[in-house]
């Protein structure tokens, strides 16, 4: 078991796909790293480098073929589907490139969703969801549907949704990929603020400019960690 300050501990993670006829493809071949509480980490790599696979493992959407993965003091590399769902609900706040909001639901209801699956009573749920939307400066857009919001606003709804369950990590996958650069900067500023107040943030991207916002960059290539560099605070 990793020490208390360590929120992510990955030890020799392998992800192997059987392509039939005894051909095996290693998406990840022995990845080890750890992340402390409160860190702001970018995971960088070109497409096909295995960073998406790594993100799926970190996000508990998938289990490694081999290796151990500790998240917030729990070994999650060998859990069942439903146990992983529970971990995702409690420990992870996802922010996706394509926002992944429910199009027919209001911003408030979208933010409420993780709390519904954690079984919180309605009154408390609405309070918490409203508070999360206020944190991303969308208090006046609570009852708007995603198609009534701009791209930047949609991404902020998604960030509010990621925050609402007080997760151990916020896992953002190309969060600015679908936004123009000005809006992208706004979103990155929001992440910076979230980091300042103590959230642990993992950012998956292939853009240097975006990765530069983080304080540590893990470079992934060919299923391995190529370089793990720390950037001192400017």
């Amino acid at each position: 078991m990793p020490p208390a300050g360590v929120i992510i501990k990955a030890d020799d993670l392998w992800k192997t796909y059987d392509m039939g006829a005894a051909i095996q493809v290693h998406a990840l071949s022995g990845v080890s790293f750890s992340v402390d509480r409160g860190e702001y980490v970018a995971i960088m790599g070109p497409s096909g480098s295995g960073k998406s696979t790594l993100m799926n493992l970190i996000g508990c959407l998938d289990s490694p073929t081999r290796g151990t993965y500790w998240l917030n003091g729990q070994m999650v590399s060998e859990l069942s589907d439903d146990e992983l769902a529970y971990i995702r609900n409690k420990e992870i706040g996802f922010v996706f490139q394509t926002f992944n909001l429910l199009s027919r639901a209001s911003a408030l209801h979208n933010v409420e969703l993780p709390l519904i699956y954690s079984g919180m009573p309605a009154k408390e749920r609405l309070e918490r969801a409203g508070e999360a939307l206020r944190k991303v400066d969308l208090a006046d857009r609570m009852h708007h549907k995603p198609n009534e919001l701009s791209g930047g606003q949609r991404q902020r709804v998604a960030i509010a949704r990621a925050l609402v369950n007080n997760p151990s990590i916020i896992l953002a996958d190309e969060p600015t990929g679908n936004l123009d650069s000005a809006t992208g900067e706004d979103i990155m500023e929001l992440f910076a603020r979230l980091h300042e107040v103590g959230n642990t943030i993992l950012l998956v991207t292939h853009e240097h400019d975006i990765a530069a916002h983080a304080h540590r960059i893990i470079h992934v290539r060919d299923g391995r960690i190529e370089r793990d560099e720390r950037i001192s605070d400017e």
């Binding site: 208390a4 509480r37 409160g38 799926n56 996000g59 959407l61 998938d62 917030n72 003091g73 729990q74 589907d81 439903d82 146990e83 769902a85 529970y86 995702r88 609900n89 409690k90 420990e91 996802f94 996706f96 992944n100 909001l101 429910l102 027919r104 969703l113 993780p114 519904i116 699956y117 954690s118 079984g119 919180m120 009573p121 309605a122 508070e131 206020r134 944190k135 400066d137 949704r161 925050l163 369950n165 007080n166 151990s168 603020r193 979230l194 107040v197 103590g198 959230n199 642990t200």
Partner: protein, 435 residues
């Protein structure tokens, strides 16, 4: 900007709060209604099978229910503890009826007198004969009424039957003995002939023969839309003189109580069989009709109708269920991305399963509700067209409940397979699906 706090290591209970399942169910209801609203036409077409099945079930149940009440009220009600000896059994299959008409001899006046003299202990025994309103008419001055039921009766029929005297008197023993030309008339004739005049002591022509009105009956009402108040009752002796010398009789036997009635029926049967020399193994060649046997036969008939209905409804429901299953499978495919989002946010297999099972149950339940509404309209229409005198086919609550529960269960059952397909989806694959 409010501060964003980071909670330190959370405790990790393995199971969630008990209220979680309930919350998921509420969320699923919300989703189901939203989906219905988003695809109104598609949902309606999907539900047609279930709607028709529910409507059929409820309409037939309410018709049978209405007719049961009706039969109990009007037809089977022969008066307290009365049974009727007639040429044949009333409620039976049509073939049996035809056979009985061919084979059985009518009950004649001698047999009535024989029973009257030989039955040991009864409260009353009377006889009636009627023309069965064929080619019969009644006239008063310029007014005529056709298809009048001309009934010859013994004076004690007023104590046995259901008729009551509204004004005047019934046929008396002297009328009977002297073959008097007097009559006791129903309300339809009063309405037609004497709307503003006292009918008593007026002379009317029954099939051209003059009779003096001595009494008027209370209104009875209608049976299956046919008025029961269109009659003229005259002494049986007079009837034999003018209409039929040897009429087929309905002998009404009244027992003291329900218990004695059974014994009295047996005694009557034994006497008549002996008199008619019916061999030991052969069936009666006459009918003994009582309320309970009538009801029993009636229930056999409606039971058969109901059985057929159950079959039809089952077929409709299965077809409707398969259509629902099909649309739910399409819905799962359509909403793969949504399922991916929900799973990424922590929805477990059972949450997704519940969502889709509830959605198809709600869908089918709404179909059942529409079926109930349609059934209401159909029964209203039946009442409007046939008239309120026909069975008051009020929809029984049980029929509505059965319809709703059945349709919802069909949705639940046929939703299980699509829902399990949805629950099994891999979150990564599902998230990658674009739509």
């Amino acid at each position: 900007m409010a501060s964003i706090s980071q909670t330190a290591a959370l405790p990790h209970p393995r199971s969630r709060a008990g209220s979680g399942a309930w919350l998921t169910i509420r969320e699923a209801f919300w989703i189901a209604l939203e989906a219905l609203r988003a695809h109104k036409l598609r949902s309606f077409l999907t539900l047609l099978g279930v709607v028709i099945a529910t409507t059929t079930l409820i309409v037939v149940m309410s018709l049978i229910n209405g007719m049961n009440l009706y039969i109990a009220d009007h037809i089977a009600n022969l008066g307290a503890n009365v049974f009727v000896v007639h040429q044949f059994q009333w409620a039976q299959s049509f073939e049996d009826y035809l056979k009985a008409r061919r084979r059985n001899k009518p009950i004649r006046i001698e047999e009535f007198e024989y029973l009257r003299d030989n039955l040991k202990d009864y409260r009353n025994i009377g006889a009636q004969a009627d023309t069965q309103n064929i080619d019969s008419s009644a006239r008063y001055q310029d007014h005529s009424v056709f298809d009048v039921d001309i009934v010859g009766a013994t004076p004690n029929m007023i104590d046995i039957g259901e008729e009551k005297v509204a004004s005047g008197r019934y046929i008396t023993d002297p009328d009977y003995q002297h073959e008097s030309m007097v009559c006791f008339i129903g309300q339809d004739l009063v309405d037609a002939f004497f709307p503003s005049v006292d009918p008593l002591d007026k002379e009317i022509l029954v099939n051209g023969i003059p009779f003096r009105v001595v009494g008027v009956a209370e209104k009875i009402g209608t049976t299956f839309g046919a008025s029961q108040d269109n009659f003229v009752e005259i002494p049986l002796t007079t009837y034999r003189k003018f209409f039929s010398a040897r009429p087929s009789l309905l002998v009404n036997v009244q027992a003291w109580d329900a218990e004695q009635m059974i014994m009295l029926e047996d005694e009557t049967r034994a006497l008549l069989r002996a008199r008619r020399h019916v061999p030991y193994r052969e069936d009666d060649n006459f009918g003994i009709n009582a309320s309970d046997t009538l009801m029993e036969t009636w229930h056999q008939i409606t039971g058969a109708v109901f059985g057929v209905t159950i079959g039809i409804v089952a077929v409709f429901m299965v077809v409707g269920g398969i259509v629902i299953m099909n649309i739910m499978l399409a819905s799962v495919t359509e909403r793969t991305h949504e399922i991916g989002i929900r799973k990424s946010l922590g929805a477990r297999r059972r949450d997704i399963l519940a969502q889709f099972v509830i959605e198809s149950s709600v869908l089918a339940g709404v179909g059942g509700g529409l079926g109930v509404l349609l059934a209401l309209m159909v029964s209203q229409a039946v009442n409007l067209i046939v008239g309120p005198g026909f069975f008051n086919s009020s929809i029984p609550v049980s029929a509505v409940l059965v319809g709703l529960v059945l349709s919802t269960s069909v949705g639940l059952f046929f939703g299980i397979y699509p829902a399990s397909q949805a629950a099994k989806l891999d979150p990564i694959e599902a998230l990658r699906t674009e739509n």
